[in-house]
């Protein structure tokens, strides 16, 4: 068995090499022993300390405190562990954890053994952590498996509302477990509305570390609450702003379109007025020419002057001028439609019957009416112009006019006019088996002033389309070269006002 170390010098050397300061005081609390660590703390050699007391080295207030604690231990004989602050002559303050014990020597005298551990660094770190948990803008708590709160920083208590008691904290935590079953055992992050007792509801970003093994019997998790109410509000405002921006862009677009439409309409209105004036001014002299030609014909009849061909030429010229004026009026007319619900089929039959009289006899005209007596809102005068335009176009394309027959007419020319209802719209179709149009021509035929005829105004189809649009409908055009063309005027079954009301 090893002999126990008992050499006093060796023992003193051990004491001197400990980082803990060790002092022994006599009954008067004067130093009778100081190890090296204690000497270093006071910054004096041991011989200067012996026989002196704390009063000689520490600020009076601190020294009084030490001595009071010392006396209490000397008196009662009870060990004490106290935290003391000590400021040395250099002004350095240390936090000491002091263990005080009364020793009884064999000669019956009492001594006081003080063992000081410098816990300044520990305390400093602790203070840092405390300052951190108290100053972060995050509510932090340490929560165990029973939702007991082991630690909560002031903000967490504030978020819990009321007095920030453990009961209130637990109430908030329990609510969060209902919001998210993973909480707090699994690492998670979610948004939840937290309402502390007596506080406004606030939107929180809740973050849990999940269970941490801190070597304790119960696992615990660190729970953080970040108030994102303002951020949520910002997000909402942001979303609102971007929605408004979108609206604004859309509004700007429709405003621009409305503006363009106004400009266009303004021009059309000017054109309409101009055309109306010109039409009136031209038709009066045309009337005089026609009547005069008629008079001339009557007066020179049977005179053998041979003026018949000349007079016929004048008449044709007048008719052609009149047709041009009519087309101009059709296109530039932009008055409100006067739509009345009516039997479109019956009306159409009448229009075609009348129009057929002025078409070449060779044309086969087929009428296929499929509206079953349905009422359709339309402006008869305007729609008649559209139908007459399409019918005379088709006839001209196939066989020309009575006055000017086509040089290369379509064989078995057939004109089909039909009506039907499809998808809540009425379709009025004018179809021919004439020469058709190339894709290029179809693409351009809606353009005002575009024409393939030597005497066309190029306003016929644009006028038809305009009339369809004014009815709230559209014009569809299909054509195949050498097979024929079809023009479909699609009209709503209800007037636009009715649609708006419905």
């Amino acid at each position: 068995m090893q002999k126990r170390l008992s050499n006093p010098d060796a023992l003193l050397s051990i004491l001197d090499n400990l980082p803990t300061s060790i002092i022994v005081k006599d009954v008067d609390l004067n130093f009778v022993y100081s190890n090296r660590a204690h000497c270093q703390m006071i910054d004096r050699p041991e011989h200067e300390l012996l026989g002196k007391s704390d009063k000689d080295f520490w600020p009076q207030e601190q020294a009084d405190m030490f001595l009071q604690n010392d006396r209490s231990v000397m008196l009662t004989g009870e060990e004490s562990i106290v935290e003391e602050q000590a400021t040395n002559s250099n002004g350095t303050t240390s936090v000491l954890l002091t263990h005080k014990t009364r020793l009884e020597s064999p000669d019956g005298r009492s001594y006081l053994l003080c063992v000081n551990s410098d816990i300044s660094a520990l305390r400093k770190r602790e203070n840092h952590y405390r300052a951190l948990t108290e100053s972060v803008p995050i509510g932090i708590a340490q929560v165990d498996e029973d939702l007991n709160v082991h630690f909560a920083n002031p903000l967490f208590k504030l978020f819990s509302g009321g007095s920030g008691s453990e009961y209130e904290q637990e109430r908030v935590l329990r609510k969060l477990t209902e919001e998210n079953p993973a909480f707090p055992g699994k690492a998670c992050k979610f948004e939840a509305v937290v309402q502390g007792i007596g506080s406004e509801p606030r939107t929180m970003m809740v973050i849990s570390s999940g269970w941490l093994d801190l070597g304790e019997t119960r696992r615990s998790a660190t729970v953080s609450l970040i108030d994102v109410t303002q951020m949520t509000e910002l997000q909402r405002i942001n979303a609102e702003v971007s929605r408004l921006n979108k609206d604004l862009a859309a509004n700007m677009k429709s405003l621009k379109e409305a503006q363009d439409e106004l400009v266009k309409r303004g021009r059309m209105e000017q054109l309409g007025q101009l055309t109306a004036t010109v039409a009136h001014e031209l038709r009066n002299p045309l009337g005089a020419v026609r009547t005069s030609a008629y008079l001339l014909q009557r007066k020179t009849k049977d005179t053998g002057l041979g003026l018949e061909t000349l007079i016929e030429r004048i008449n044709k010229g007048v008719t052609r001028c009149d047709n041009i004026i009519t087309q101009l009026l059709d296109f530039s007319r932009n008055k409100m439609l006067e739509c009345q619900p009516g039997k479109l089929d019956d009306w159409l039959a009448g229009v075609i019957e009348e129009e057929a009289r002025s078409l070449p006899q060779v044309l086969e005209i087929e009428l296929s009416l499929g509206l079953d007596g349905r009422d359709v809102p339309f402006d008869p005068a305007r729609l008649q112009r559209a139908v007459v335009n399409l019918v005379s176009n088709a006839a001209e394309a196939m066989v020309g006019t009575v006055d000017q027959p086509h040089a290369n007419p379509t064989s078995n020319p057939r004109l089909t006019i039909s009506t039907k209802v499809r998808d809540g719209l009425v379709c009025l179709k004018v179809e021919d088996n004439g020469p058709g149009m190339s894709e290029d021509v179809v693409a351009r035929v809606r353009e005002p002033l575009f024409t393939t005829k030597s005497f066309g105004t190029g306003l016929g189809i644009p006028a038809v389309e305009q009339i369809a649009h004014q009815h709230g409908g559209k014009l569809d055009i299909r054509s195949v070269v050498n097979q024929g063309s079809s023009f479909e005027i699609w009209l709503p079954l209800q007037t636009q006002q009715e649609t708006a009301v419905a």
């Binding site: 109306a276 009547t291 008629y294 008079l295």
Partner: protein, 121 residues
């Protein structure tokens, strides 16, 4: 054999008015020519008019308004209208006021003569 009519032709366009007048005269009718609405009213007061052919748009007083005024004094007045373009409101007013018909200019003479014929029958 149709009877001779007193026809009033009203048109501010002299070429139109006079050529129509000559046409009617050729068929042995008596024709009075007026060049605006006011003259038309006076013509009706001074003459026995069997039938009138009125232009719509004219200076001083338009054809329709003068027709309405004439009808208030001569409820039996028989008048056709001739127009260079469809001034819908005025035409509606004329038809509602008792006009016999409307011809668009340049008028189809066969229809105008047929109208005269029916008046003379």
């Amino acid at each position: 054999m149709s009877r001779q009519l007193n026809i009033l032709v009203v048109d501010d366009d002299a070429g139109n008015a006079e050529s129509l007048a000559e046409l009617f005269q050729l068929d042995n009718h008596r024709v009075i020519v007026a060049y605006d609405g006011q003259q038309a009213i006076e013509a009706f007061s001074l003459n026995k008019v069997d039938v009138g052919f009125f232009d719509v748009m004219m200076p001083n007083k338009n054809g329709v308004d003068s027709f309405i005024e004439i009808r208030s004094k001569f409820p039996e007045a028989r008048v056709y209208f001739m127009t260079g373009y469809s001034a819908d409101d005025l035409i509606d007013k004329a038809i509602n006021g008792g006009a016999l018909g409307v011809f668009s200019k340049p008028v189809d003479l066969s229809r105008v003569l047929a109208a005269v014929e029916s008046e003379a029958a």
